[in-house]
Amino acid sequence: MDKKIFIDGREFAIDGTKTVLEIARENGIYIPSLCYLKKLGPASMCRVCVVEVDGIRNLQTSCSLMPTDGMKITTGSPRVIEARKMVVNLLLANGNHNCLICERNGDCELQEAAYNLGIDIPAFVVPEREEKDESAAFIIRDGNKCIQCGRCVEACNRMVVNEVLEMGNRGGHTHVICDNDLPMGASSCVQCGECVQACPVGALYEKKGVGKGRPWEIRKVRTTCPYCGVGCQQELHLKGDQIVRIKGVEGAQPNDGHLCVKGRYGYDFIYSKERLTTPLIKKNGKFEEASWDEALDLVANKFKQIIKESGPDAIAGVSCARSINEDSFYMQKLFRAAIGTNNIDHCART
């Protein structure tokens, strides 16, 4: 007989692979969570995702709760709501969660939880505690918005294994540190931005996106990173035609959300005035715009001339590191079969 559970009276079949939170989310049942991130697994730290389970005294964190046959779960009982409200209130109390000026306004999991729980004014307030760290090239850290969920630390250590971020201190003083508590810009961080993508709130955000656009003004376009042959999937966040930020596409091959520093932050070149948009041919010592036919004819004729005068080995081909394998294959084919030389190389070899 099939095993099943009941969430808020609704029946769901279980196969032992999914947690209660996953089952609920797949079926449109809202349970807020702050520390859980799918690719990192349950953390059970924020305690916002608690639910009530028949026969179990304490509330259970649904992100870590593996359902057993017949389990009856309530996601919105007064007791659950009171506990969740307290947790979100506690988080709002500590730090400076001023949504008005926050880059993540409208795209913040803490804000969403507060909104859904109907918290308008935090029940208690304690003073803020940390300075913003703007020392790094691309990432700003705002400790006053940090909720110590640990996602960035896990992402840095377990996903990209850069081992820069750690939790420092403890208790109410727990905060995220870089190396031995250096400013991010002075640390060994390579600015891959995995931590920014993992952050549920506005504690980590992109320097280049500041003031460029709000989440509701954003159009999202999926594309492939042009930097190398891996083909990472990117989600461009555009306001008009301007990139506000770039995110990795979660759940997509081959990068599952990861991007490197180039792919995530190295996009200025597309707006460069010096960027080539048509072929240029040097005439009388000056570059002049030309059509592709003109340019290709010129190159082909020159190749032919060199082969005729000096033989095919007078020509060598160097392919680009950003080329995909298929392009590199064609490039060598061109040189070996069409031109007739084995002089081929690759720029990254030098």
């Binding site: 730290m45 305690r47 307290m86 506690l90 304690v126 939790m167 420092g168 403890r170 109410g172 540190i177």
Partner: protein, 572 residues
């Protein structure tokens, strides 16, 4: 120097099945070598030795209180101002030191001689006020003795410590005659029948030992009261992974100072208990996780293990003494396992439980010092004899620590179920008029004097009375004490010790501390009292580990039972 370092670090690493476990001992070694400071260079050396990031080392260094990433004076004076110290006048000592040294708490004198800190619970509850100077304790301090201490340190001398207190043993099972100079030696222990129980155990089948311990019904003396023998039977059968036994000697519950009595004066009893238990559980490697502040006691244990090894008692098991770094939460078994694996002491999500997935992911049993020290008696005399001591379902001897407002604070080994009144009488009676009593360490609900009447000191009776036996650390509070102030001290401890992992504990303890301070300092409002009760009610049972409950319960009890005192302090 570097070469000597390398050799020493290698020796430390070799003690452990996994390199990562050596991280704290390596850091402790480097700090000691480096003027009591773990600077950036030491962090880098440790990271290189263990093969991890600097961030990881720094994260550990700042998690545990005993690592100094910032410079400290030649003498680091640490005054225990937690509840037991508070009841014994530690504040006066601290204020005197501030005046005498001309610095504030947290500062260092200009000449770099002294750093003054207020610290949380040093486990010297009956011998307070206590000042820890670097690795050494100075107990039973007075203002006059503090002057003597400071003057001596200034002239490069260290006076003798005075750890004297009342010691009474009605059972004579766990405590020995500490007045004898050689009480710690193997010869003394064997002269009193020591290691006979181990000899007997080694002739038994491991399962028989487990059965006997289970039959005896030793309930976990760390505070939870879970039957040790039952815990042992949770280990998976026919499992190819190694089994580990960890002796929990991270005695940090304020009001508790019982385990150190065994370890410091009767170390071979614990060694024998671990040796028998390791044999029963088939653990080839066992650990004693002792709080780092008890450095000299760890030395005593290491010496005892060495002696026992030489005497051929430990051929079946290797016992490693592991010093903690200053963290209350590491007394929780999963936090302790994490710490022993060389990490920040954050408790794990359960399940899985340590019996199935403990140290290095292997089957693991964690038992308290006092629990394991009961094992030799059980094996030697049988479960039936053990059950003759104490009361039904609460068998055996129990070490009670009595501190606070009594005339003769100290340590009392009495049968389980002994009336509180009898223990307090042995402690010279209450000094002044009793307002309340905390009977099981700071994390249990305070009883009013009336509620404490007729209370018997065992697990079930205490539960029935709406409190818990916990660790058996009894703190008497007389009517000179303001309960709001006591509550503030209590929450300060838990906020300081919270691991910071889960929100209700980390932020809840912070907000309660703020609100209680507002009340105590006259800025409080009536609704703050209800807010505190709202928080304690919801935090209870919501946190990842029992620490949330450990402060929610006592704070709730103090506020609800003594509410008029809180109301009197707030603006109407």
């Amino acid at each position: 120097m570097d070469k000597q370092n390398d050799t020493m670090i290698k020796t430390i690493i070799d003690r452990y099945p996994k390199k990562d476990s050596a991280v704290m001992p390596v850091m402790q070694y480097l700090q000691k070598k480096n003027n009591n400071r773990l600077d950036d260079r030491a962090v880098e050396t440790a990271a290189k030795a263990i093969g991890c990031s600097k961030g990881k080392i720094y994260g550990i260094a700042t998690y545990y209180t005993m690592f100094n990433t910032q410079p400290v004076g030649k003498y680091h004076l640490q005054v225990d101002t937690c509840v037991p110290g508070f009841l014994q006048g530690a504040d006066e000592i601290l204020a005197h030191l501030e005046k005498k040294l001309g610095i504030k708490t947290g500062e260092t004198t200009k000449d770099g001689m002294f750093t003054l800190s207020a610290v949380q619970d040093l486990g010297s509850c009956a011998t307070g006020p206590v000042i820890q100077v670097n690795d050494r304790y100075f107990e039973n301090m007075t203002v006059k003795k503090t002057d003597v201490l400071i003057d001596a340190l200034k002239s490069g001398k260290e006076p003798e410590n005075d750890p004297s207190m009342t010691v009474v043993s009605k059972c004579n099972i766990l405590l020995n005659d500490r007045t004898k100079k050689d009480c710690r030696t193997l010869a003394f222990y064997k002269g009193n029948g020591g290691y006979q129980s181990l000899k007997k155990a080694l002739s038994m089948k491991p399962d028989e030992i487990v059965a006997e311990v289970k039959e005896a019904g030793i309930r976990g003396r760390g505070g939870a009261g879970f039957p040790a023998g039952t815990k042992w039977t949770f280990l998976p059968k026919n499992d190819s992974r190694p089994v580990y036994l960890i002796c929990n000697a991270d005695e940090g519950e304020p009001g508790t100072f019982k385990d150190r009595q065994i370890m410091e004066f009767n170390p071979h009893l614990l060694v024998e208990g671990i040796a028998i238990s390791s044999f029963a559980l088939n653990a080839k490697k066992s650990f004693i996780y002792i709080r780092g502040e008890f450095d000299w006691i760890a030395d005593i244990l290491e010496a005892a293990i060495e002696e026992a090894k030489k005497d051929g008692q430990l051929n079946h098991v290797d016992i490693v003494v592991h010093r903690g770094g200053g963290s209350y939460v590491c007394g929780d078994e999963t936090a302790q396992i994490e710490s022993l694996e060389g990490k920040r002491g954050n408790p794990r999500v359960k399940p899985p439980f340590p019996a199935n997935f403990g140290l290095y992911g292997c089957p693991t049993v964690v038992n308290n010092v006092e629990t394991l020290s009961c094992v030799p008696y059980v094996i030697q005399n049988g479960a039936a004899a053990f059950q003759k001591i104490g009361v039904t379902n609460n068998f055996g001897p129990k070490i009670f620590g009595v501190s606070g407002h009594v005339n003769k604070p100290g340590i009392f080994e009495y049968p389980m179920g002994t009336p509180l009144k009898e223990i307090l009488e042995a402690a010279g009676g209450v000094k002044g008029k009793m307002k309340g009593v905390i009977v099981g360490g700071l994390s249990v609900a305070i009883l009013t004097a009336k509620e404490a009447e007729g209370l018997n000191m065992d697990y079930d009776s205490c539960n029935k009375a709406g409190t818990a036996l916990g660790s058996g650390g009894i703190m008497v509070v007389n009517d000179t004490v303001s309960i709001p102030e006591l509550a503030l001290r209590t929450i300060e401890f838990y906020h300081h010790e919270s691991c910071g992992q889960c929100v209700p504990c980390r932020e809840g303890s912070l907000v309660i501390e703020h609100k209680l301070r507002d009340i105590v300092e006259g800025r409080g409002k009536m609704e703050d009292i209800d807010l505190i009760l709202h928080l304690t009610k919801n935090i209870k049972g919501l946190t990842l580990c029992p620490t949330g409950e450990a402060f929610a319960v006592p704070i709730q009890a103090m506020v609800s039972k003594f509410r008029p005192e809180f109301e009197a302090l707030v603006k109407k």
